[in-house]
Amino acid sequence: MPGGPPVAVGDIRPSIASPLDACIHCGFCLPACPTYRLWGKEADSPRGRIHLMRLLSTGEAEPAAVARHLDACLGCLACLDACPSGVAYDEAIEDSREELESVYRRPFAERVLRLAVFALFPHPRRLRVAMTGAVLAKRVRLPGLVRRSGLTKRFPFVAALEELLPEISLTELWASSRAGRGDGRHLRRSRDEMVRAKGVARLRVGMLTGCVQQVLFAPVNAATVRVLSAEGCDVITPRAQGCCGALMLHTGRGEDARRAARRLIDAFSDEGLDAIVVNSAGCGSAMKSYDRLLAADPVYAERASSFSAKVRDVHELLGGFEARAERHGLEVRVAYHDACHLAHAQGIRSEPRRLLRAIPGLTLLEIPDGDTCCGSAGIYNLLEPVTADELGTAKADSVRTTGGALVAAGNPGCLLQLQRHLGKALPAVHPIELLDASIRNLRPDALRP
């Protein structure tokens, strides 16, 4: 507009009714999408899925036909970064999956599978009992029997789950059942656990223990508490906390997710908290979206938005202030894996790298094609095991090319998936475990397994 008055984006763009409206069909998202790269099919690309979501919302497509392609979406959100028009694909897929769940009755085997997953994973106590069963079953070589019985053919999920489970001892499994493992003191009123900051406290933070994280990766939680304390945080771990609802949110179970969100907001109702710290990328990204999730809730909307504003991934929090604890040398070559829900969903890429690079002796390695999902994607590797396997194998190959002795990732799902595809020769650890080892002056071989 030569000579005309300046125009701002908001002057022209009307408020967007649906996140889908911003999609102009340019296709820039295609090369970013793991399933499009595998199959080259429009319906399994972000642009194609948006097309299908529109057809679903206008009633022009059969829910069953749409479900297949929305189910195949990893929800890795690589497309979010690729989109120049700023389409909120994350919101779009959440909304559409919820809509789908309300109108579509899945085939029997799928219903059983989902029922099993949701009866187990968001419930740490049940998960721990089930894991105990799995460990014992492995001891009596039950998996072999199960495989021969043909049960795994009917429910490929059983095989996928069995292969995914890490090598974990019963002692480890149950040691974590006492939150904080006894090295903190209980706050009298709420029975919450608190670990004091070393030195003068800079922040008072609440910590999420997570479901899978506390059962299968208790050492990661312990390391997180130690590092936070060493860096000057009073760490409060509310006992009453449950699942954050991420798994439900990402699979269209909106009502369940909202219920979980409300409970977690209640658990972290301590107003003296400066931040709510999360060491699991998937949980953190869900908790940061509670404001949207509960926007229509008359009681919780306001609390949800102040809750979301306080949520910090642990790398984000630590990256935000000057290191206080001394870092000791840790001679190890580490490949850093970007968890999708850290990099794409929360835009956290540089902080974990910076924290790791600050460890003397540690060599940080970049994984080729690092922006691609490892195939874990929450419970995707249980629901869509074949695709997840393909992606997991490709990711493991990429990790191996780095020549690293360890691979680090800030999400329990990724750690399980990476470990399963890399085997014992190349351990997968949480970056916080490395930081903890450096602060405590441990040797690299002290890290799992």
Binding site: M1, P2, G3, G4, P6, V7, A8, V9, I12, R13, P14, I16, D21, A22, C23, I24, H25, C26, G27, F28, L30, P31, W39, G40, K41, E42, A43, R47, G48, H51, L52, L55, E60, A61, E62, A65, V66, H69, A82, C83, P84, S85, G86, V87
Partner: protein, 488 residues
């Protein structure tokens, strides 16, 4: 026609040569192919196939041939003129699974690729050898070389390096009768009629390219990029003329106007000033001694033409960000408007200033916003006409404005399309540029390859059906509403 053949029959015949997962018949899945980058025109194909080899393409085309069925080839579906719009009674042949790099021959600076390989993947594969593929459409991260060949795609750097046709040496093509022929050769020049040259840019109306031999260039020794900000597009236009008049052949000269800057900055944050009336991105490349001279001259030309600020990219990262910003311009328009029309008119470079002023006047008359982002060095305009179908009458006004802008380009001594192709979008405008004799001559060439007119029908050549249609989301044609015609 032998009468319509059923989808089941087609599926059965295709399954002789293709796996089940390569044959798409489900309606919802087919609908995801109903449009390419031009969303105003839509049609759902009868059936779609995903071949993985030349033999499979041949088999699919053979099935079409035996039933006199129409077919359309599609790559990444990023075209802006509807070149990959399916035929509702035909087959869609999707080439996105043919994405192998067949051969890299660094010594002879060429590469053989399948049609589904993206433009950028070619340059990435060539980079370890110090080589690259020059044509660089803004959609290069996703657009496929097969589509580039069909549309004779251009890009920012075509000012210095030329279009797709200057960088493709040979083609393997499946003709509409299912025969496979090779056009051109790996040699830089081959005797006889240049059928390769005939094929490139015919928008998929002559056959389907199944293998493309591209020419690679050595990566330039030096690249220097500047961003100059101006108060008005007229000043920026003057700078473009001044740069060319100084005898410089820049690698690229791109212009973004005020509105385009808003969208690009929101998308990428390349550091273009939000207050500027226009910015020019000027790049020179070549041997470092030559570059330093031409770059200084280009900078001086900008300053002399009233540049408010000239920023020089400090390193490769800053340059990459500038280009990312420029290349996201179309794709970022979703931030400004739920719908828009892109024009692709070409004008003589010397007329830039007056034509842009006139476009702004026309836009004001129509009560619409027009964002301009374009290859200024070539005079290849890309006015983006923003409209909202939710506001009554805007779509009609947008279409009218688009037609007036194109007429303006033709009147200024230019052309209706620079690089996006004619497709369905501008088929109606062909008579504005070509006489009946011209069009008849083109049609005879087409008929030599495709006597039955089954290969990408309804594109390039004007037909009455298309001219009654309006841009934007599908609405029934007045004659359809009156029950006088069927949609397809």
């Amino acid at each position: 026609m032998n009468g319509p053949v059923s989808v089941e029959q087609l599926g059965a015949e295709l399954s002789q040569s293709l796996r089940r997962d390569q044959i798409l018949v489900e309606r919802a899945e087919l609908r995801t192919y109903e449009c390419d980058g031009l969303t105003g025109h839509r049609a759902t194909p009868l059936i779609a196939v995903l071949p993985e080899t030349t033999a499979e393409v041949q088999a699919a085309v053979q099935v079409c041939a035996s039933h006199h069925l129409r077919f359309v080839a599609r790559g990444s579906g990023t075209g802006l003129s509807g070149g990959a719009l399916p035929d509702a009674e035909g087959m869609l042949i999707v080439l996105t699974r043919m994405r192998r790099i067949v051969e890299i021959d660094p010594a002879n600076q060429r590469m053989v690729v399948e049609p589904g390989v993206t433009n950028l993947e070619i340059s990435k594969a060539a980079a370890p050898h110090g080589l690259y593929y020059a044509p660089d459409p803004s959609s290069q991260v996703v657009c496929s070389i097969g589509g580039n060949v069909a549309e004779n795609a251009g890009g920012a750097h075509c000012l210095k390096y030329g279009f797709t046709t200057h960088h493709v040496l040979g083609l393997e093509v499946v003709l509409p009768d299912a025969s496979v022929v090779c056009l051109g050769s790996p040699m830089v020049e081959s005797p006889g009629y240049d059928l390769r040259g005939v094929f490139i840019g015919t928008e998929g109306t002559l056959g389907i390219a199944t293998s493309v031999t591209v020419r690679l260039l050595r990566l330039p020794e030096t690249v220097a990029t500047l961003v100059a900000e101006f108060a008005t597009t007229a000043d920026a236009g003057t700078a473009v003329s001044a740069i060319i008049a100084a005898g410089i052949v820049p690698a690229a000269v791109e212009m973004l106007d005020h509105l385009a800057i808003q969208a690009c900055e929101a998308a990428v944050g390349a550091g273009f000033s939000l207050e500027a009336g226009a910015v020019l991105v000027v790049e020179v490349d070549g041997p470092s001694e030559e570059c330093s001279g031409t770059f200084a001259a280009a900078t001086a030309a900008c300053t002399a033409s009233g540049a408010l600020r000239v920023r020089v990219a400090a390193d490769a990262d800053e340059r990459r960000l500038i280009w990312q910003g420029r290349k996201a311009a179309f794709a970022a328009m979703g931030r400004l408007s739920p719908a828009f029309l892109i024009q692709d008119g070409v004008i003589p470079r010397t007329r830039l200033g007056p034509v842009l002023t006139r476009i702004a006047e026309l836009a004001a008359e129509a009560g619409l916003h027009v964002a301009n982002v374009f290859h200024a060095g070539d005079g290849n305009l890309h006015p983006l006409i923003l409209y909202d179908t939710a506001r009554a009458g805007e779509d009609e006004r947008a279409e009218l404005l688009a037609t007036r802008i194109i007429q303006l380009c033709v009147d200024a001594g230019g052309s209706i399309t620079g690089e996006h192709g004619v497709g369905v979008d501008k088929a109606c405008s062909m008579p504005a540029m070509f006489s009946e004799d011209d069009l008849a001559a083109m049609l005879r060439v087409r008929t030599a390859f495709d006597p039955e007119g089954r290969c990408n029908p309804g594109k390039v050549f004007p037909t009455p059906r298309l001219c009654g249609e309006r841009p934007g989301p599908y609405r029934p044609h007045p004659l359809e509403e009156a029950g006088m015609i069927d949609r397809w």
